[in-house]
Symmetry: C2
Subunit: 208 residues, 2 copies
DNA sequence: GTCTATATGCGGATAGAC
DNA sequence: GTCTATCCGCATATAGAC
């Protein structure tokens, strides 16, 4: 069964476009390139999307929608803080490095190609996603398990996670689950330790 | 002390180009834009640089040279591991977010605009810089103060640091020194704890 | 070293037939 | 929905005068 909203042609166009935008960048990709990869001519593309920018925006909006969905789904049923944070790290990495890699990478690295108007719309969506992280991080702050500056924690965590798109190779030794586990342990060491599991270390120094 | 190599005109071109490449991206910036900002015409630019790509490569090579210099200078005289790691974090952030912001951001985010040949040359330089981090991180691994996978630690740390270019605003509440201190404490908590020094949260009244 | 003028090609986008 | 044909502007890069 296909998804409810199966726009067929449009989705196929978006998938191809996302791949090309990621690999070659937005402005180095011509609409002729995309059309050719789809077996059509550039004139036909403009029947589906009025402008090239509209195509980029659609790719990005799909990316945000997917990662929010992924993180929310993973969170369902998790109530304890350590599991929730681990789940978010895992869902984020799976969305970023899995089948959605193209759209997610475009979202993260091509937003400067947008006109100012489109930029604020897309950045607003990104902000909404990032806001999902504030609740558990704030909880960790209250519990004294991370630095007191919750926003800085979020930027640091998301920076480390998002950067994986620049170096992670699926053929490598680490699969995404193992990567998620390791990065979680690095980025939230005191939360992981508090969960009772033996984390990387002894509870060093003062418990804080 | 002014630099020995003051090519004057060429340096001025590179500075302008770096700024435009950062703000508007490589392909959205035309050589006419750059020339106009310098008070010349596009024909004149090609007297100094044979191609637009040559300009990009020169900006990037300058960026790597500067950050390597900055990190090496900061390291001079530091012998203990905590001070060395803190120094590297600070130097990296200062190079990235300070007066070299333009070239550094271009280096990090515009390398896909390079031809394959130029790409491998520039990425080789980046690798050389990243290799600087392996020695202290390996030492921390041996001491059991970070995760055992030194490469993953490096990618995580550099990812978090490099991402600051996407969100840090100098007008904000945090200056670069304070940011460095906080990120160091987050990314190397057990090294920081082992140093016996103050942890970030409690001592805030100071610097500013 | 900088200018003017220009070659040359590719880009996004449109019109209208089928 | 897709095609062909085309408009038109802008981009890199060059030639040659000053």
């Amino acid at each position: 069964m296909t998804k409810v909203r199966d726009n067929g042609r449009k989705d196929a166009i978006l998938a191809i476009a996302a791949g090309q935008f990621r690999r070659r960048g937005f402005e180095r990709t011509s609409v002729r390139d995309i059309a050719e990869a789809l077996g059509m001519t550039s004139g036909s593309l403009f029947y589906h999307f009025a402008t090239k920018e509209e195509l980029l925006v659609a790719v990005m909006e799909g990316g945000v929608r997917d990662i929010m969905q992924s993180v929310r789904d993973g969170l369902a049923g998790e109530t304890r803080l350590p599991e929730r944070l681990l789940s978010m790290v895992r869902s984020h990495l799976k969305a970023l490095l899995g089948p959605r890699l193209d759209a997610m990478t475009v979202l993260l690295y091509e937003w400067r190609s947008l006109s100012p108007a489109a930029q604020s719309r897309v950045l607003a969506l990104r902000d909404a996603y990032e806001a999902l992280w504030m609740e558990p991080i704030n909880e960790a702050v209250v519990l004294g398990l991370v630095e007191s500056d919750a926003v800085l924690v979020r930027q640091t965590v998301l920076g480390a996670l998002n950067w994986t798109a620049q170096w992670y190779r699926p053929e490598g030794r680490l699969d995404v689950d193992a990567l998620a586990q390791s990065m979680y342990a690095m980025l939230f060491p005191r939360v992981a330790a508090a969960s009772g599991a033996k984390s990387t270390s002894t509870l060093s120094g003062r418990g804080n």
